[in-house]
Symmetry: D2
Subunit: 135 residues, 4 copies
Amino acid sequence: MTSTTMPMLDTYPQSINLDRRRLAATIDALIACSEACTACADACLSEGMVAELTKCIRTNMDCADICATTARVLSRHTGYDANISRTLLDACAMACKSCGDECASHAEAHEHCRICAESCRACEQACRDLLASMS
Amino acid sequence: MTSTTMPMLDTYPQSINLDRRRLAATIDALIACSEACTACADACLSEGMVAELTKCIRTNMDCADICATTARVLSRHTGYDANISRTLLDACAMACKSCGDECASHAEAHEHCRICAESCRACEQACRDLLASMS
Amino acid sequence: MTSTTMPMLDTYPQSINLDRRRLAATIDALIACSEACTACADACLSEGMVAELTKCIRTNMDCADICATTARVLSRHTGYDANISRTLLDACAMACKSCGDECASHAEAHEHCRICAESCRACEQACRDLLASMS
Amino acid sequence: MTSTTMPMLDTYPQSINLDRRRLAATIDALIACSEACTACADACLSEGMVAELTKCIRTNMDCADICATTARVLSRHTGYDANISRTLLDACAMACKSCGDECASHAEAHEHCRICAESCRACEQACRDLLASMS
């Protein structure tokens, strides 16, 4: 997969209030995490022990939705509003933490949970790094 | 439009940690705000003075995405995680405030901005009320 | 819930190639169906017999996503492209049919599936009526 | 960006009715196209000649939404329904074609439209290839 995130950021015709490289890395982490969570929810649904994975499925769905929305907001620079980015990054880091914890608790039993937990951890860190760079 | 939000909440088979009536009202406000913002962004795009409305369009798009995601998260009760709901409601109230302010500044010139600003105000209030009831 | 769909459509500053009343009714049906499917997926997750509802949960998630996207596309009128609306409405009617059938098969056991099936049927019909009016 | 799409597909615990490599390539093309369209809509909003780009912005928004939803549907395999995948892929290929044509017409003036057009073309082709492999 060749990401179009950095090439597209490079063509934005006005200034951007954040470091473009860090921003692109965060957007890519969000997109990868959203996809991993969508796939993990579905893989959990097909496990024989699905009844023990319902919290994992639900948290995956939340995390997928929140990461996708955060990636979109961070991909927009026109009329930038730091308050929206900041509070949303905070909520997204929280969702990634919760989902990473939940998936990690099933990582030994299910490889999809192990990969998804890693993706959530990486995304949480990227969100927190970007947040730190904003203040 | 007959909302299915309250009837569906009533059929949830387990307990819900929030007042169902307040929850349904918030979800409905989020859905209405998301739709108003999507429509307002498009109406702004078709105004002759679109160049003066670019911040409004962008904020509308953010608010539409964040409200839609918040409505989904609040519509899930399995494996409830108060931390996700709380931080997301905080981000959503912020997006509604920013979008409400921006739309309000065009309310005299554009009826779609006036209606959208009202929808954002109502949604911001619903988010804050629900947040207050959670602590 | 007071829908903002028709009031917002009334403020669109250019002409719209479709009957505004029918369009608003379809958008409202899509929004209601998307919400019902999101809630039904979560209610199914909390049923003791979740292992027998995995196809229902998955179809609910597809239908929720497709209805939400179709509502957004139909809420935009700038640079209207009938080909996009037509093929998407066709896909959406199909998703509503599949989800309506699946939910209907659980309607006697689960009230959330019964309500959701009704919402899917109404949405499928609205999509087909709008499609018919476009040709 | 390290895509998690193929690793996650490899962990799905049941059989999948489609070639996993082709499926992963399509999902990745959809995700990349959705991101390119979101960024292109915003870059267009910040161009001085935004009034001439309103159809491009609108088509970008449609294509971003439809590609994101199609990526999600293709990432689910539980309770697979070929009718949903088929009609949605058809709608998605159409949206990519429309958006690719629109962006291509601005490619000489705007580098973001050139990159986005390429992403739309690649995604349209991936959707059509997957569709062809399904029949």
